[in-house]
């Protein structure tokens, strides 16, 4: 089970400084270990996106050479891109990793989908409710999430350790101060913690780290010719017959990629030629749109994310 490494393989004189990526990496590893040392049943939410990929990679590093000391949890909405499912299954094939897939059975029974029920109902039932179900069912007391503070205004003020009561609600007025590297993980029975090890990462950091560490990500992040339709101001990819076309919609081949991945009918692509990581990063550096722009679910009022979080959205 252990990957073997030769004894000491010194790398020359001691380094004198560490780059921002080194520091972000150490901070995240420290947080991951702290949770495993202090919580009873941690779990890592695995959404198959780039942030999850980075978080998983950091976890492998944190606990090496041991296998991952907690399972991954994928709350499946049933509307993910095919390539996402393919990567998920490859990850799950790793003997060092346990993966739990949860699909909200009520949503399945109601044949929940974003076309008939709309983006927010679909997301609420399949994602928010599904997540709560899974956490309750398995009795997880701490869940890692890949959210970053640079994604959205209200996240900027959320702590790294964010407490939820037994109803999974967040109380923004009652957050614990986080000083130095000290995290207070004590909680009442029934309460749980959402832990965000990537809090201090920016989107650019994530891309640069993916490049530096050679982390496998879903190919949809790279530009390629793909069939898309324009819908509600977004470029929606026509993966297959699962996407019902509206009248007048004719799929066109366009060179596109995704900056963020969610449910395929709700995630917009951007036109791009960036088919390598350096090109993606170069594009990022001159980018003019933030990544959440591509998510239909975020387009409501500007405080919507905060409201969703108070209700138990991750």
């Amino acid at each position: 089970m252990l990957e073997s490494h030769s004894a000491a393989a010194p790398r020359g004189p001691s380094p004198r400084s560490r780059s921002q990526l080194d520091r972000l990496e150490s901070e995240s590893i420290h947080i991951l270990r702290e949770v495993v040392a202090e919580c009873e049943r941690p779990v890592m939410l695995y959404s198959i996106g780039k942030d999850s990929a980075v978080m998983l990679h950091l976890a492998r590093k944190a606990f090496f050479p041991a296998r991952l000391p907690f399972p991954l949890l994928h709350v499946d909405t049933r509307f993910k891109f095919r390539e996402m499912y393919a990567l998920r299954d490859r990850v799950a094939a790793n003997p060092d990793i346990d993966l739990i897939v949860h699909i909200n059975p009520d949503g399945v029974a109601a044949n929940m989908n974003p076309f008939d029920h709309g983006a927010s109902v679909h997301t609420d039932v399949m994602k928010t409710q599904g997540l709560k179900q899974a956490l309750d069912q398995h009795g997880f007391d701490a869940a890692f999430g890949g959210a970053r503070r640079d994604e959205e205004k209200s996240r900027a003020k959320e702590r790294i350790f964010s407490f939820r009561n037994a109803q999974h609600r967040w109380d923004p007025k009652n957050q614990r101060p986080e000083l130095w590297r000290l995290y207070n993980t004590r909680k009442r029975k029934g309460d749980s913690i959402r832990v965000f090890p990537l809090s201090n990462w920016t989107e650019l950091d994530v891309w640069q780290y993916i490049q530096r560490e050679n982390i496998e990500i879903v190919p949809l992040y790279f530009a390629a010719e793909r069939p898309v339709v324009e819908r509600d101001g977004m470029l929606i990819m026509v993966e297959d017959e699962r996407l019902p076309l509206r009248t007048g919609e004719v799929p066109q081949q366009r060179r596109v990629r995704f900056r963020t991945l969610g449910c395929y009918p709700l995630t917009g692509a951007i036109e791009s030629d960036a088919d390598t990581l350096p090109k993606i990063i170069a594009e990022m550096l001159v980018a003019s749109q933030s990544e959440r722009q591509g998510r239909a679910i975020d387009h409501d009022a500007s405080a919507s994310m905060e409201k969703k979080k108070q209700e138990g959205y991750f």
């Binding site: 205004k153 000290l182 201090n200």
Partner: protein, 630 residues
């Protein structure tokens, strides 16, 4: 994992080799802090078009700048706050230049929010202190500087803002500079820089301004790109690595995972594990990417040692030739962060490094008047107050003075019941060399004394209403124990109040102190090997929990003497209920002060169905089951 193809690209490479600087901004309300940070984000292009669009529409809707962008709005996150028009928490912002990535802790200027500033300052390498040029150095400026200094920030830049509104610009700026320098001479900064800026117009923020030709120093951003990073300084300190997690995947591997607080470690280094003081040699430094020969401050690694010694989470691995100090009593500075005031004598949990221990805040030496640096006498600390205290732990820890190492000298206190983080603290120095005393104490310890006695020491804590029968039953138990040849002592609440606790009244603080003293005495007696019986109303759950913590023994046995109020009042042996009903006694338990029934007492004695002897033998048989009699 399968590799994603990547081309090498110098430009991209340079982008990821940047350093990381964390800084905090502090200023009073309306000094222009939000405008300044907003400008830094804007000018370093950390904003995207959609964010700018929502900024533009927010600016029109609720902004204060007419048709212009109101940068301050960028920083307001939570909707309630946004409506109030103020920022009330710490928010973190990110931007970068070619040289560095920056993490900004944005903390508000309100006087009552010391707590937030302390949080933001704890991880900051530098502080930007904002002063409104028209208002000059204010009490809040002193406050911000003092907190920055206390929290160990060594590099400070004073941004004198709103220079565009000042006529005598240079004179005003120089006057502020000398006034600030005078106050700061009492503080601990390595260096202080002064920069005249206009956040609104962007003067000297990112670009040098032609409107202030008399100023020839760096711009604010230029300063931030060059100011030293604290982690770098700590590389030259001796090795400290708190052990976070012991990695034991199978029998063949035992690694110690942690983040280096300071120094560096090399394969072959001699290390000391503290507080146990055992030594070993570093065998491997294991990482996912292969073993490495050296690791430095800030790195999260896994070590294996040549000689197996007992190490667990909470220990510190130190350089053998320059180890940390070990002590259990400290002079410490506390910043109180909770709405419930500090109660000296009440035990709290202390988290320092990866260790969590029981801590008692003893004497409060003084409270610091933050804006004048005066020392005031005080009995307690309220939210946002800072004080100097004696701190004692129930076991020794390895530490460094906070001024030397923020990571091995900084700690938080946690309330045992609410689980809230109630204080941030900094260890200044050990009060005495407790380590030696402790090592000696191991020779003759509690179990050695107990062995001589022929039984195990314990504390039987009797709780119940006045007149419930606590003393009567405790007496009967003591007789049974004596008959078995046990060494016992009975501490009675009323008697103790006549002697040891004569100077205590019935206020909240006195009540806590009352229990603390009795619990401490009980602990000493148990430590001396005695079976100690305590008969004390102890009506509050938290106080009983505290007593259990202080006594710190597996053989703390809570005995709930359960008698209904009606029956106790009917017995009224001492006539106290009658007085209380007549209003002659205030705060009488059961009448006008609650009795919180124990939820899981170790022994529950129902006096209404058992007589005294039966109750006593019920208790003794539980003691028997616990193996207290050899």
């Amino acid at each position: 994992m399968a590799a994603v193809k990547s081309e090498h690209d110098d430009f991209i490479g340079a982008q990821s080799d940047k350093q990381l600087l964390r800084f905090i901004t502090c200023g009073s309300v309306d000094d222009g802090k939000s405008t300044l940070i907003g400008r830094l984000l804007y000018e370093s292009r950390a904003l995207f078009e959609d964010q700018l669009a929502s900024l533009a529409s927010d600016s029109k809707r609720v902004g204060t700048q007419g048709e212009n962008l109101d940068f301050a709005l960028l920083l307001d996150g939570l909707s309630a706050e946004r409506e109030q028009g103020i920022t009330i928490d710490v928010a973190y912002r990110y931007f970068s230049t070619e040289r560095r990535k920056f993490i900004v802790a944005d903390t508000p200027g309100h006087e009552q929010y010391t707590r937030n500033m302390v949080t933001g300052a704890s991880t900051a390498d530098a502080a930007v202190i904002l002063i409104d040029a028209r208002r000059g150095v204010l009490p809040q400026t002193h406050r911000h500087s003092t907190i920055a200094s206390l929290l160990g920030i060594r590099h400070v830049v004073v941004a004198v803002n709103k220079m565009d509104l000042i006529d005598e610009a240079e004179n005003t700026f120089r006057a502020i500079e000398s006034e600030f320098r005078e106050f700061a001479s009492q503080l601990d900064f390595d260096d202080i820089s002064f920069i005249p800026v206009s956040a609104l117009r962007g003067d000297n923020v990112v670009e040098k301004s032609s409107t202030m030709p008399w100023y020839d120093g760096p711009t604010l951003l230029g300063f931030l790109e060059r100011v030293p990073i604290d982690e770098q300084r700590r590389i030259d300190e001796p090795l400290r690595m708190p052990v976070q997690w012991v990695n034991r995947p199978d029998q063949s591997f035992r690694g110690y995972a942690g983040t280096l607080s300071s120094g560096s470690v090399h394969v072959g280094d001699r290390v000391r594990v503290q507080p146990s003081a055992r030594e070993s040699t570093v065998l491997r430094i294991v990482t996912f990417d292969g073993d490495i020969g050296t690791a430095i401050a800030g790195q999260s690694i896994t070590l294996t040692l040549a000689e197996e010694i007992d190490i667990s989470r909470g220990d510190i691995i130190s350089a053998a030739n320059d180890p940390a100090e070990v002590a259990d009593q400290f002079d410490a500075t506390l910043v109180w962060m909770d709405a419930n005031a500090l109660l000296p004598g009440r035990p709290y949990l202390m988290k320092i490094g990866s260790a969590t221990i029981n801590a008692n805040v003893g004497e409060l030496k003084y409270k610091l008047q933050v804006d004048t640096l005066e020392h005031l006498a005080a009995k307690t600390l309220e939210l946002n107050e800072i004080g100097s205290v004696n701190l004692s732990l129930d076991q020794p820890i390895a530490f460094d003075a906070y001024s030397r190492n923020r990571e091995t000298g900084g700690f938080i206190l946690i309330d045992r019941i609410s689980n809230a983080t109630v204080a941030a603290g900094m260890l200044n120095f050990a009060l005495r060399r407790a380590s030696n005393i402790h090592l000696q104490a191991l020779d003759v310890d509690q179990s050695a004394r107990g062995a001589l006695m022929g039984h195990k020491p314990c504390v039987l804590w009797f709780t119940g209403l006045s007149g419930a029968g606590k003393s009567t039953i405790a007496n009967a138990v003591e007789k049974l124990l004596l008959a078995r040849g046990c060494h016992t002592y009975l501490l009675d609440g009323d008697n103790v109040r006549h002697g040891l606790n004569r100077n205590l009244g019935f206020t909240d603080a006195d009540r806590v102190e009352n229990i603390r003293r009795v619990a401490e005495v009980a602990r000493l007696m148990a430590d001396a090997g005695l079976m100690t019986l305590v008969s004390f109303i102890s009506p509050f759950r938290q106080d009983r929990a505290n007593a259990r913590v202080i006594v710190a023994s597996d053989n703390f046995i809570e005995v709930f003497v359960d008698t209904s109020l009606a029956v106790a009042e009917q017995r009224d042996v001492k006539g106290l209920y009658k007085k209380a009903r007549a209003g002659e006694l205030k705060n009488f338990t059961g009448i006008d002060s609650p009795y919180e029934r124990p939820e899981n007492a170790d022994i529950h004695v129902d006096t209404e169905s058992l007589d005294v002897d039966a109750a006593a033998s019920q208790i003794v048989s539980v003691m028997q089951q616990r193996g207290l009699f050899d």
